[in-house]
Symmetry: D2
Subunit: 332 residues, 4 copies
C-alpha cells in the first residue's frame, strides 16, 4: 500500500509532523551515476515557501541518501534508502484541531480505518508525503534509458480559467486574500517514450498513469489523449490515421494520446489531472468533533491556496516512476 | 499484468478468436453459496447481440466453472477456474486485415511490444476479454460482505448529449446508419460501502478505481466526486461540512464522492468514466500495412457503434472487484 | 497463493476429482515456438500408471492450450491458458472417507482454514495439482534463454538406502506388498545457468528454490550445496577457492552449490529435496471423524507407495519455473 | 527483492559500511502499543560483541523509529520507518580486499549481477542486514495476535556435535584459536500458533518458512517435522494418528511438525536450519583478483567463528515475520 511499482519499487513512510519522511527505492540497476543536485532541484521545485503563493513552511528538504551508492554516487544495484528530517514542525499550530474532523481532510476516514489518527498536520495524509515521491522520481529520472525522454507538466487552468501564468497567479492571489482556495488542472506531456511500452490487460500504461496520478493528494480526475472530450466525439473525428514517415510508422493526429491498447505507439503521451481546491481554508468552518458534537474549526495556520501549483513536480515524478518501471521491465 | 487484485485476484486469458476466454478467481473464502444464474444474468447483460444497437456476435457466453466449488456450488476457498468457449469465430471476417494496422486499435502497438499480434478480431486486445471480468465480478458480488452494497452504473451521455435513454439510443442509431461510431460517459454509484475502506498512500480507493476503470477498453478518462469540475471550484464551494445524524457522522454534501484521503467515509461513492467512440467503422479508412505502405482498410464486419452502452456491466464488475478486494483485506 | 513467479507467473486451479485441472502461464515473451510433444513428454513422465510402482489412475493428462499461441504454436506474448480434464475420477473410492480425517493428509487443516474441504481424493491438496506445474515448466523450458540450461533430477535414496535404480525399486515394491509406503530423496543438478542470476536479500536464488521445492506435496526438507553436512564442517574444509581457467573465473570445488549471496556464480547448482512416505496406506488406520469420534480408516483405493519417484519431473518443473523467472528478470 | 511479506511487509536497505541500515514495516494495524525495550532486547541478542565468541564490532545498534507511531508509541496503522546508523565502520580493515574475490563471499556474484560491488565489509551481502530483520520481527512480535505464540530458537549442534551449551562453545573456541570457523544447526519451535494458518498451494506455511530461513546469511538447509529423516521412514512409522482430547482434535505424534498441506494443525511447529561455517577465516587463503590473477587474501579483521550462534534471534525474527504475516491475512 505504501509501495509503488513492480520493477522499480518506491516504498515510503512518514507523517508530516513526525521525525522524518523517507523511502526506499529498490530496483535501480548498478552502475548509474547519480547527480545529487538534480535531486535537490526537484525537491526545491516542490518545496513550499518558494514564493508567496505557497505555504510558508521552510524545511530545507534536503534528503540524506543512506545506502545503495558508492562514495562516488554510483548505484550499487542495491536499494537506495533516504530520509528527510522534518525540521519545521510547529505542531502547536494544529493542536486545537486534534479532536475535530476537518472537512475534506482524512482525519475522519483514518479514524474509521485505523481507529486513530495523527492529529498534527494531516499525518500520513499530508501532501508532505509527496516529497518522498519527488526524491524517488528524481533518482529514477537519471536512469540511462530515461535520458532521452522528456516529461514536463504545467498548470493549464485555475478555477476554470485558462490563461497566461500571470493570469492564473492572479486568480490564486485573489482566492488567498479571501482566505479561500481554488482548484486547477495540470497537464503533462511525455516525449521520447519508445513504442512498445506497457502491458495488457490490467497493466495498461494509461491505467497505471491513472493510478499514479490519482494517488496525488487532492486529485479528482484523470484523462489522457482526448479524454472526456472523446466521449462527445464520433469515430470519424477521433481516428488517428497511420502514415509512414521516413520508414517510421506514426499517426497523423494524436487523439489517442500516444497509447493504444495500453501500449505506447511512439507518439507523445499526454494526460491531464484535475485537482480540487485545498481543503484547508483561512476561515472559520462548521464541523463536528469525534463525538459528533457541532463545533467551529478556526481558520488559521499555513496553507496552500492552490494545490495544483505545487503538484507540477509531483505529477512529473510519478510519471517518471511509471515510465521507468515499465521500461526497466522491457528494454532498459 | 493479467492479474487484478490483491486479496481477491482475478487472472485472465484469451484471444477473441482463440479457443476460449477464461480466468481464475483466487481468494474467495470458503462457504459462500454461488448462484449460477446471477453469473449468467451479468454475462447476458454484457453480451453482444441483445439488441440491434450492439454487434451481432452470438456466442452464448455461458461460463463453465471448473474448480473451487462443491457439487452444491459452495466455494471451497480454493481458486475458481472458469472458461467460456469462443463458438462464433467467423475468422474470415477479419482475414484481410491481417497485415494492416487498423487506426486506434492495438495491432501496431502489440507488434511493437511482442513482435507479432493475433490478426483475428483484436486478439487479446479485444473487448471480449471483459467477459472474463464480468464473470469474476458476478462471483465476487455474491460474497456475504457485498450483499448490502449496491453498485449501479448507467450511460449518462452519448456524443456529448445528456438525455433520456430513448434520446441516447437515437444518437447511436444515427451514427450506426452512417457507418460511424460515437463516444459516451458511464456513471457508477456505490451505496452501502462501509466507512474505513481503502489504503493510503498508493492504494487509495479512488486510485484503484481509476486503474480498474481505465483498464476497460476505450476508456479515456476517470473522475470521482466533483471530478474535473472541482478544478474550477473554490474551497468554500467544495467543502463537505460534517454533521451528526442519529449518532452517525456524515457530510451534508458529497463533493468528495464518498472518499477522503483514499478511504471511504460512508457516503455514496460516485465516479464517471469517459469512453471514446468504437475505433471500428463501417467505412473505408486510409491506413498503412506492416511495411508502412499506404493502403485502404475496408469497412465491413460487425461492430458496436457505441462501446459505452456495452460498458455498463463491465464498469460494475470492475467496481465490484475493487470493493470486494478491499473489504476482504479489512473486515469481510 | 495459487500464483508462482514474478516475471513468469503460473497461476493454477483444480481439485483432483473436480472437472479439470488448469492454469495460466503469464509472462512468456512473444515469438517463442512451442513444441507440444515436449509438454506431453513431461506430463507423461509425471503421469501415474506408467509402471506398476505408481498409482493406477489412467488419465491421459493431455493438456488443451486455450490461448496465447498462434495456430502455428508461436507465443503471442499473452497469457497461455490451459486445462486438463479429470476423466478418471472414480469418486466412489473415497466416499466413505468424507467425514474422516485421514492422518497426515490436509483434510483437517483445510477444514480449519476454510470451514470445509472437498472430500474426494484430497481436493486441492492432491498431488494431481502438480500436473499444472509440470505443464507450466514444460512450456517455460522452451524459452530460448533456457535452451542451454540442463536441469535434471533423480531419486538418490529410498527409505534411507542409496543404491542402484533396481535396488531402490525393490525397496518400494517390498513396502507396497506390505501396504506400506516409504520416503526418499531427490537430487537436482542445474548446469549452464549463467553467473549473476538471483536477487538479494529476500529473493536469493536458493531461497526461491527452497520455497518452490517445499511447495511440492510431501516435501519435508531442502538443502543445497553441502547442505546440512556444511553444519558439521569447518571453514577451512568448506572453502571454494577461486581459480582462473581460460580467462573465466571459477571455483576449484563447489561446496557452495553454485550460489553465493543468493546469486549464481556460474558453477553447477545442486540441491536435494526430502520426501516423506505417502500418507495413504493400504492398511486400516485408527483416526477420528469431524466430531472427534474414534473410528477406523479402511485401507483401500489406489496409492503411490513412494512419492519421491513421482516427484522427479515435478522437481525439474519447479526448478525450471524458478530459473526462467529469474532469467526473464535479468538477461533473457 | 528487498521486501518480505504480503500483509505485513518489511522492506530493507543498507550496506554494512554505509551510512545506515534501515527499513520500513508496512501493514501493522493501528492501536498497537510498542515497547521499545523489547526491540532493544532483540537487537542486543543479535549484536556482535556480547561475548568473546562473536565479532568485536561495537555498534550500539539502537534503532531510531521515524514514523508510524504516536508520541506514546502506539501504532498509527501507517508504515514504521526505522534506521540504525553504522557508527563503527573501520573501513580500513577491508581496504586491501577491494579487488580480491573472497572465497564463499558474494563479491564475485555481485559483480556478475550488478557490474560492481561495495568492497567494504560485504556491503549489502553482510549479515549486518539481518539487524533490520530483527527490528522488524521485534515490532511484529508485539501484535496482540502474536502474544500467545511462543517462538524460540536455539543452537542444537556445532561442527556436527550435539551437546550442552558448554560443549558447543568449546568447539567454537577451538576453531577460533586455529583461525578457523565452524558450522552449526539451529532449531526453532513455535507453540500456540492456531490451526488453520497457511495457504495452499504456493503459499504453504513451511514453504514460506523455508524461503525466510534460507534468506539468512550462510543458511544451507531447511527441514521441518521429521525433515530429511522422513525420507528414510516408512508410512507406518511416520503416521500422526488423530485423537480427540477434551473436545479438541490433535495428533498423538508430531512427525508432521505441526503443518499438513501447508496449513497449521494446531500442534507445535518445529524446523531446523543448517548454517555453513563463516567464510571469513583468520588465515591466508589463495584466491583471484578481478582480472583473474592468483593472489593471497590475508587473514585478518574481525569475524564470527560460528554464524549459527548469531543466527538464533534472526531465525526467531524471520519466523515471527512469517507467522504475523499469515495471521494478519486470516484472523488477527
Amino acid at each position: 500500500m505504501n509501495t509503488f511499482g513492480r520493477n522499480l519499487r518506491l516504498t515510503t513512510f512518514g507523517e508530516s509532523h513526525g521525525k522524518a519522511m523517507g523511502g526506499i527505492l529498490d530496483g535501480m540497476p548498478g552502475g548509474v551515476k547519480i547527480d545529487f543536485d538534480l535531486i535537490l532541484r526537484e525537491t526545491s521545485r516542490r518545496r513550499p515557501g518558494q514564493n508567496h503563493l505557497v505555504t510558508a513552511r521552510n524545511e530545507k528538504d534536503i534528503p540524506e541518501l543512506l545506502s545503495g551508492l558508492t562514495d562516488d554516487m554510483v548505484t550499487l544495484g542495491t536499494p537506495i534508502g533516504f530520509i528527510v528530517r522534518n525540521t519545521d514542525q510547529r505542531s502547536g499550530d494544529y493542536g486545537e484541531m486534534a479532536d475535530l474532523y476537518r472537512p475534506n481532510h482524512a482525519d475522519f476516514t483514518y479514524d474509521m480505518r485505523y481507529g486513530l489518527h495523527e492529529p498534527r498536520g494531516g499525518g500520513r495524509a499530508s501532501a508532505r508525503e509527496t516529497l518522498n515521491w519527488v526524491i524517488g522520481g528524481a533518482i529514477a529520472r537519471q536512469l540511462p534509458c530515461m535520458k532521452n525522454i522528456s516529461i514536463k507538466a504545467k498548470v493549464i487552468s485555475i478555477g476554470g480559467v485558462s490563461g497566461t501564468q500571470e493570469e492564473l497567479v492572479e486568480i490564486v492571489e485573489e482566492a488567498k486574500k479571501r482566505g479561500d482556495s481554488v482548484g486547477g488542472v495540470v497537464e503533462c506531456v511525455l516525449e521520447g517514450v519508445p513504442a512498445g511500452i506497457g502491458n495488457p490487460v490490467f497493466g495498461k500504461l494509461h491505467a497505471r498513469l491513472a493510478q499514479a496520478m490519482m494517488s496525488i493528494n487532492a486529485a479528482k480526475g484523470f484523462e489522457y489523449g482526448d479524454g472526456f472530450a472523446a466521449a462527445s466525439m464520433y469515430g470519424t473525428e477521433h481516428a488517428d490515421i497511420f502514415t509512414s514517415e521516413g520508414g517510421r510508422i506514426r499517426t497523423q493526429t494524436n487523439h489517442s494520446g500516444g497509447i493504444q491498447g495500453g501500449i505506447t505507439n511512439g507518439m507523445p503521451i499526454n494526460f491531464k489531472v484535475a485537482f480540487k481546491p485545498t481543503p484547508t481554508l483561512l476561515r472559520d468552518i462548521e464541523t463536528v468533533d469525534k463525538e459528533g458534537n457541532s463545533t467551529i474549526l478556526k481558520g488559521k495556520g499555513r496553507h496552500d491556496p492552490c494545490v495544483a501549483l505545487r503538484a507540477v513536480p509531483i505529477v512529473e515524478a510519478m510519471a517518471v516512476l511509471v515510465i521507468a518501471d515499465e521500461i526497466l521491465g522491457v528494454k532498459c
